[in-house]
Amino acid sequence: MASAPFKAQLTDLLNSMFAMDFLDEQFKELQMLEEASGPGFLTEVVTLFCGDAERIISQLDALLNEPAVDFGKVDANVHQLKGSSSSVGAKRVALVCIKFRNVCQENDKEGCIAALHEIRHEFDELRKKFQTMLQLEQQIQDLDSK
């Protein structure tokens, strides 16, 4: 089957994402939901998550660049990002959010800026892997439907 090499690549990619803690068991729940409902669900959820995360990270950047930082708003945004990353199984992003909230609750601006850099790094790495995952899934779907 023409899609076999792409399926193998996808399996390897996902295995490495789990092994490196980019993803956790919650993502497996989502995979099971997609198996039960048909293709498209994971693409939709991952796309929504990435869009939302990008928006929140930009908002955090703006908040931390204010002369007087509103740590309450910063915390609320980080909390939201932690929630959405936990819901999709984005483990490393969720873990950095926990660190971020700890420094935020201490009103530590420098700590928050450092945590934001770390979130940005983890999210960018995850997003690249998600993009590869979605491209492989699309190729598999296209080949299997022929």
């Binding site: 099971m32 409902s37 959820v45 929504l48 959405s84 936990s86 819901s87 999709v88």
Partner: protein
């Protein structure tokens, strides 16, 4: 239950991807789903005459949070089953005091949600 045989469900969460996940979890059971992004919108759904059998309620949302929305709905005499779903483990007591029927921590496990729905007699 509402007069329909279908379980009418209101999903209340300000995160779109989370709402989509809950929708897919409940889609498997044939539930009828409405989504809103904050507690006030949830209350407004009932104020405008909509009826729901089940509410999945997040805690931290803009305008009105989930605990306040739960308290408001119970104050209105809304009998729908309310499942609080949040990352804030410390809010369990506040949710039950406000009138929630069940409490789940995020991320939601499909089996845990299904067990609660069975206990509510929403699943055959």
């Amino acid at each position: 239950m509402t007069s329909s045989q279908v379980v009418k469900t209101l999903i209340v969460d300000d995160d779109v991807s989370t709402r989509r996940i809950y929708r897919m979890m409940l889609f498997r059971f044939g539930f009828e789903i409405t989504e809103v992004g904050d507690g006030k919108s949830a209350v407004d759904q009932f104020l405008t005459g909509n009826e729901y059998d089940l509410v999945l309620m997040d805690k931290d949302m803009p305008i009105m949070d989930g605990v306040e929305a739960t308290r408001t709905l119970r104050g209105m005499g809304i009998p729908a089953k309310i499942i609080a779903i949040t990352t804030d483990a410390n809010s369990r007591g506040a949710f039950f005091d406000a009138g929630a029927d069940e409490f789940l921590l995020k991320p939601v496990n499909f089996t845990a949600l299904a067990d609660i729905l069975k206990a509510f007699n929403f699943l055959n």
